[in-house]
């Protein structure tokens, strides 16, 4: 695990995770720290941890880690919103039809969208980036 900057304050930080479920708790602590530093209340912090946890879980399960076997989680603030990005080197994009078809799987994307303001999934030649944006309550 590498943390290139302390999470809070003028938020710009990065966490590099191994593509293993045991890393999810580390990802959640990183998100909670950044969200607290940005001024989110308990509910907002939990919602962000929930959404990012879903994105990292998808990357672990369906993505392909970098050649080093890692997934990259970054945070930045932009126009009053906190933005988390989860990058892996796979090209999995959940299909909408999966949301209904499989009770145990595939709900992650819809769940993320329920608790943050924007979810963007960008698939490029280098991999998949899921970007989650949530504004601080006014």
């Amino acid at each position: 695990m590498h943390v290139s900057a302390a999470a809070p304050a003028s938020v710009e930080a990065e966490l590099v995770l191994r593509a293993e479920p045991s890393q999810l708790a580390t990802a959640r602590r990183f998100v909670e720290g950044a969200a607290a530093g940005f001024g989110f209340d308990e509910r907002g912090r939990h919602e962000l941890a929930f959404a990012v946890n879903e994105a990292v879980s998808n990357a672990i399960e369906h993505g392909r880690p970098s050649p080093e076997g890692t997934i990259r989680l970054t945070v930045a603030d932009e126009d009053g919103a906190l933005i988390f990005s989860v990058e892996d080197h796979g090209t999995f994009v959940p299909k909408a039809s999966m949301l209904e078809a499989l009770p145990e799987r595939g709900r992650g994307l819809a769940f993320m969208a329920a608790v943050v303001d924007e979810v963007d999934v960008c698939r490029g030649p280098a991999g998949t980036v899921v970007r989650l944006s949530k504004r601080r309550a006014a």
């Binding site: 479920p21 045991s22 708790a25 672990i60 009770p103 709900r107």
Partner: protein
């Protein structure tokens, strides 16, 4: 390991799975296994106690939904005990609170169970 899990029988056809801590995709297989053991042991009512849980993800929610559906088809029921506001909020925003039978206390869950008899 950031979660804990216990299993016990309340009666011949009623079993309890208590699962606490942070329930993410690392914990979901254990919960799925405990639920399967309870159903294979003949439980028609399963109580899942989340009183000590502080986090739940879509994988774990999926296990609960699948269990609810499986028990429903067999004429049984899944009763969930949960009082943690963050978890209740997650159940609500993803719309699962309408699908699952969630109770704030053990007494309420036992009452719901008794009401089905």
């Amino acid at each position: 390991m950031s979660y804990m899990l216990k299993e016990r029988a309340l009666s011949e056809d009623t079993r309890v799975v208590t699962v606490g801590g942070e329930l993410d995709m690392g914990a979901a297989p254990e919960l799925r296994g405990a639920v399967s053991r309870a159903l294979e042991a003949g439980a028609s009512t399963l109580m899942v106690d989340l009183s000590e849980a502080t986090f739940i993800d879509s994988t774990t929610i999926g296990v609960l939904v699948a269990t609810h559906q499986r028990l429903g088809l067999a004429g049984g029921s899944l009763e969930i005990v949960c009082c943690e506001p963050n978890l209740l909020r997650v159940f609500e925003v993803v719309g699962i609170n309408r699908e699952l039978s969630i109770h704030a206390t053990w007494d309420a869950a036992l009452g719901a169970f008794a009401g089905t008899r």
